[in-house]
Amino acid sequence: MLRPPEHPLRSLYFVNGWLDAALIGGLSIIVFVALRLFTSNHTTSWAIETASILSVFVNYPHFSATVYRLYQSPDNVRQFPVTSLGLPILLIGAVAASLWQPAWVAPYFVTLFLVWSPYHYSGQTIGITMLYARRSGFEVGRWQRLALTTFVFSTFIANFAYPRSGDPIMRYGVMIPIIHFPAWFGILMIAVMCAAAAALLYFVFAWSRTQARLLPAIVLLPAVTQLIWFLPGTQTAMFYEFIPLFHSLQYLYIAWAMQIGLRMSEQAGAGAHRSIAYESLRWLLRNCAGGIAMFIALPWLFFWVNLPMITTAGVVVAALNIHHFFVDGVIWKLRNTAATSPLMMNVADWSASRVPVTV
């Protein structure tokens, strides 16, 4: 996904420390602390409605951004034909089977989505940590990577193994089978998580001592953020509603940096003059429209199916999410013609492409 920098980086951050830290997890931590301190532990309708309104501007565009990145050029489609063309056909088949057999197929299809989702969160946490580690010069070797991935995935597994009632739960209008874990398993995973955290901190201190400087906090911010989202965050009812929003915000920021980096590099070669602000708004507008089409319009196309709307919408949402998980696995591997990987650039590099930063 990443190449070593071809020239010394002007900054560790894409834009600046405050904005990067806020969008990568800082803002979510502030909101978590505020909701934990000042609200009761019950979800209120305003939280659901606020999260729902914000999802149009953040969550849906985050899905659309992956689709846009993959399908925006025929060359991308040719690089990953199975994901680009085969996967949608497979998912249409899965949706058809789920709607045809809502009692037999839909529960497993929706469960696949619900299990894969936290795995996807974890993958994103590791990816962003690796990105900032590379940008800061922190070498992630075999053991550092093992400590990081063990820590991140153990937060996911510990959360999953948390003992809860043995009854199946209703989600998206279908009964979700419960996966049972023995009580000791959750405790074991917490112990593994603590051991991995200790190992990771050891590597950080060792690096800081060798380099005679502290490791920038943003390198560890994604892992800390995931810890809060997955453990105390899921126990805080009001905050729980906003976790997908913050995951999407984190994703959108990196995807935006990628898109702008690519566009600015291309335009520098072509001599085109477009501002970063213009490109950003154009990209956001397309992704807002794409997200609305995917999550508001598409589920309504199934109005004729003789099932409760929540079930058809839930199955469609599961398919869109699974498509996102697959596509996310390939879009960061797409080849580009730019000399420097867009993910190793920053706002100063973009503006150096003879493009005005402000308008």
């Binding site: 532990n41 979800t43 659901i48 409605e49 999260a51 729902s52 309104i53 999802s55 149009v56 501007f57 969550n59 849906y60 985050h62 899905f63 619900l114 989702s117 936290p118 969160y121 996911f156 959360n159 999953f160 948390y162 809860r164 009632s165 739960i169 989600r171 998206y172 209008g173 989202w229 997955f230 965050g233 899921t234 126990q235 805080t236 729980y240 976790i243 997908p244 995951h247 999407s248 501002s275 602000a277 213009y278 708004l281 154009r282 956001l284 507008l285 807002c288 429209a289 609305i292 999550f295 508001i296 409760p308 709307m309 929540i310 919408a313 839930g314 949402v317 999410n321 996102h324 308008v359």
Partner: protein
């Protein structure tokens, strides 16, 4: 600058209209289910 303001206004208007439709009609919002990738587990 004019173009930027126009695009910003379109995004806000489009998003507001979509959010209103969603709040009124979405069965997932009624049911309190997150309409996008959900967090790992519901609060017990």
């Amino acid at each position: 600058m004019k173009k930027l303001l126009l695009m910003g206004a379109i995004i806000i208007a489009l998003g507001a209209a979509a959010a209103a439709v969603q709040l009124v009609f979405s069965p997932l919002v009624y049911a309190g289910c997150p309409v996008t990738t959900p967090p790992p587990a519901p609060p017990p």
